[in-house]
């Protein structure tokens, strides 16, 4: 049986490595560890925000969960209606196509993600066609109903228009409709509002949350913006160089961040108050690529806690990357110094 607490999706030791410096004549010896043995689960009907800076692996994680790229290793379990867990990482062919009914994706840029030659109807109906769902009449009805649901009303005035006739906010609503038309229960949303203007963004975020409530959806909400993560998601996971370094209830993580990287991220967010003198984030150096990372904490080079001991804290320097551990009340952090 599915209980509210049972995970909808459960990720175990998921990895994605890219070879670097390979050519036709030479096999690559080095790899970028874009996603490096991450584990997490998302309960039914809840949303997880994945935050981090460019290149931290958050988009790669989204592509793995939708199987747009094949994992280097690990498992992605999706709970079936009967409560059984199926490993998506092993799916192929027809099974993979059937799985796509349940897991959909919304992309960042609605100017790139919609085919300019397809009408709105054709765009939204395409997943139904691919999955072989409904007759033409039924598809028309489904698409029209969904357009109304995403706020493109009246649907009849949008059905036969082309993407270039719509504004950015309207296009993103079309992209949302396309993702939801096959009634998925899990949607990966990769920065769905970062290209939109502020006054439009709020409407799209509110819509996504309302639809999640109405349809019992779970999102993996990928964003670089902590405030957007807080607004949209129950849980928050912070990624750094391919690793999840902190994970917990969004409010708890933002109020009591445990990992020094999360603390730095939070303190770097500009304060919407001209009178407030925001202290500088406690971090040093800059971001680097996780190419064959040394077997130690990925954050070691930039960590001020590890640097408190002259020559670097030996616990952080000599041990492998710390495990993501429950530090109390379901608040996970990967740090030796918590």
């Amino acid at each position: 049986m599915n209980t509210p607490d049972s995970p909808l999706i459960k990720v175990e030791n998921l990895s994605l490595y890219f070879p670097v410096g390979s050519s036709f004549f030479q096999r690559s010896k080095s790899h970028i560890h874009a996603v490096d043995e991450i584990s997490f689960s998302i309960p039914l009907g809840r949303s997880l925000a994945l935050v981090g800076e460019s290149g931290c692996g958050k988009t790669s994680t989204g592509k793995l969960l939708t199987r747009l790229v094949d994992p280097t290793g690990g498992h992605i379990y999706l709970r079936g209606k009967d409560g059984s867990l199926a490993d998506l990482a092993a799916l192929k062919g027809d099974e993979l196509k059937r799985f796509r009914r349940r897991v959909q994706m919304i992309f960042q840029d609605p100017y790139e993600s919609l085919n300019p030659r397809l009408t709105i109807f054709d765009t939204v109906a395409e997943p139904l066609l691919v999955q072989g769902l409904g007759s033409l009449g039924e598809r028309e009805e489904m698409v029209a109903r969904l357009l109304e649901q995403v706020g493109l009303t009246p649907a009849s005035s949008f059905l036969f228009r082309f993407p270039h006739e719509l504004s950015g906010g309207q296009r993103q609503r079309v992209a949302i409709a396309r993702a939801l038309v096959v009634r998925p229960d899990f949607v990966v949303a990769d920065e769905p509002t970062s290209m939109l203007d502020v006054s439009i963004r709020t409407g799209v975020m509110n819509l996504m949350m309302e639809l999640a409530d109405q349809l019992g959806l779970s999102y993996l909400y990928i964003t670089h913006d902590l405030a957007v993560a807080r607004y949209t998601s129950h849980e928050l996971a912070v990624m750094y160089m391919g690793k999840i370094v902190e994970h917990g209830e969004t409010e708890e993580v933002l109020a009591n961040p445990l990992h020094p990287y999360t603390q730095a991220l939070i303190s770097a967010v500009p304060a919407p108050d001209p009178a407030y003198q925001r202290p500088a984030p406690a971090i040093r150096g800059g971001i680097s690529k996780p190419i064959d990372p040394a077997p130690r904490c990925r954050f070691y080079e930039r960590c001020l806690r590890a640097a408190q001991t002259a020559g670097g804290d030996p616990v952080c320097r000599e041990n492998d990357h710390p495990r993501l551990e429950d530090k109390g009340g379901g608040h996970f952090a990967a740090c030796y110094k918590v």
Partner: protein, 324 residues
């Protein structure tokens, strides 16, 4: 003593397109003092970048100045001849663009590019002195001096943006315009660049116009803020007043549209509708179709941009009350 560096008076610019005239800037006026930092905030297409381009006389060919003047130390930029414009750019007003990668030429060393910018204005500068100046600038923006002979691709995103800032500072301008300089940067790097900009602006007592769509970023660098909507300036006041007692409904809406990481979590209210098509701007107040306070006059007459209290200007027929 007159301390005004820059004065925009009723600036009105249209772009001629095949479909008609796009009203990009409509009757914008403001002053900027020596050493003052000002923020221009608004959404895409509100005219904030068009203002920056007008200040540098970098408007596209199809731009037509309908009315108004831009006075720099009392001299109208719009009437300068080509030679005067060249002398003004970089030496008196310089600009930091959003895409630092595109602002640097990939096949020249970064130091050489900055030297070249200086030579445009001080052709007599001996090479050794030019190099010393670049070293000084790198130190000012926090880049290691040994990066002078490196190429742009060897710089990280934040470093490139610092190099572009160094270039903008090369000829000691009295005004620097920063157009979304941190928008493409990650939040920790953005924090570093904002701190540098703030420190340099104070240290050199330079005037700055900081353009952004993000009102929180503006709050961190600017002493006063101008809010733009659909080609018009709708409100102008000290940063604290804009944040704590916004008088224009659009400013208030803009402020409450940003989620925050602190304080109670509240549901954000989305502004209905979309910004207008500036080929056919709405009559009267351009915000009225989206405004909850709109009345009959808003649909017919353009509200004047007037002082509502000392140092606080607003263009609205039904402004919000000042909170007690």
């Amino acid at each position: 003593m007159n301390n005004t560096l820059l004065a925009l008076k009723d600036l009105t610019v249209e772009y001629k397109t095949r479909k008609g005239y796009v009203s990009a800037i409509d009757g914008v006026s403001f002053d900027l003092q020596y050493g003052e930092s000002m923020g221009l905030v608004g959404e895409s297409g509100c005219g904030k970048t068009s203002i920056a381009m007008s200040l540098l006389r970098l408007m596209p060919e199809n731009a037509i100045v309908r009315r108004g003047e831009i006075l720099l130390d009392g001299q109208n930029i719009l009437q300068m001849d080509e030679r005067q414009v060249r002398e003004m750019r970089w030496a008196r007003i310089s600009m930091v663009f959003q895409a630092a990668m595109n602002a640097l030429n990939p096949v020249y060393r970064v130091g050489d590019q900055i030297t070249e910018a200086m030579h445009q204005h001080r052709g007599d500068l001996p090479p050794l002195q030019a190099r010393a100046r670049v070293e000084e600038l790198f130190q000012l923006v926090g880049i290691d001096a040994k990066m002078i002979d490196r190429y742009p691709h060897e710089f990280s995103g934040g470093m490139r943006q610092r190099a572009v800032i160094a270039m903008a500072l090369a000829c000691s301008p009295s005004l620097i315009i920063a157009d979304e300089p941190t928008t493409a940067l990650d939040v920790i790097v953005q924090d570093q660049v904002l701190r540098e900009l703030r420190r340099i602006q104070a240290q050199l007592n330079m005037s700055m116009i900081y353009i952004s769509h993000d009102i929180a970023v503006i709050a961190e660098v600017a002493k006063k803020i101008g809010v733009m909507y659909a080609g018009r300036m709708v409100e102008l006041a000290a940063s604290g007043d804009i944040f704590h007692t916004p008088r224009h409904p659009y400013t208030a809406a803009l402020m409450s549209a940003f989620p925050s990481i602190k304080g109670p979590k509240t549901r954000l209210v989305a502004l209905p509708g979309e910004p207008p098509d500036l080929l056919y701007p709405p009559q009267g107040c351009r915000f009225h179709p989206r405004c909850s306070r709109a009345s009959e006059i808003c649909q017919k007459q353009t509200p004047p941009f007037e002082t509502i209290q000392p140092n606080h200007w607003v263009a609205c027929w039904n402004p919000l009350e000042a909170r007690a």
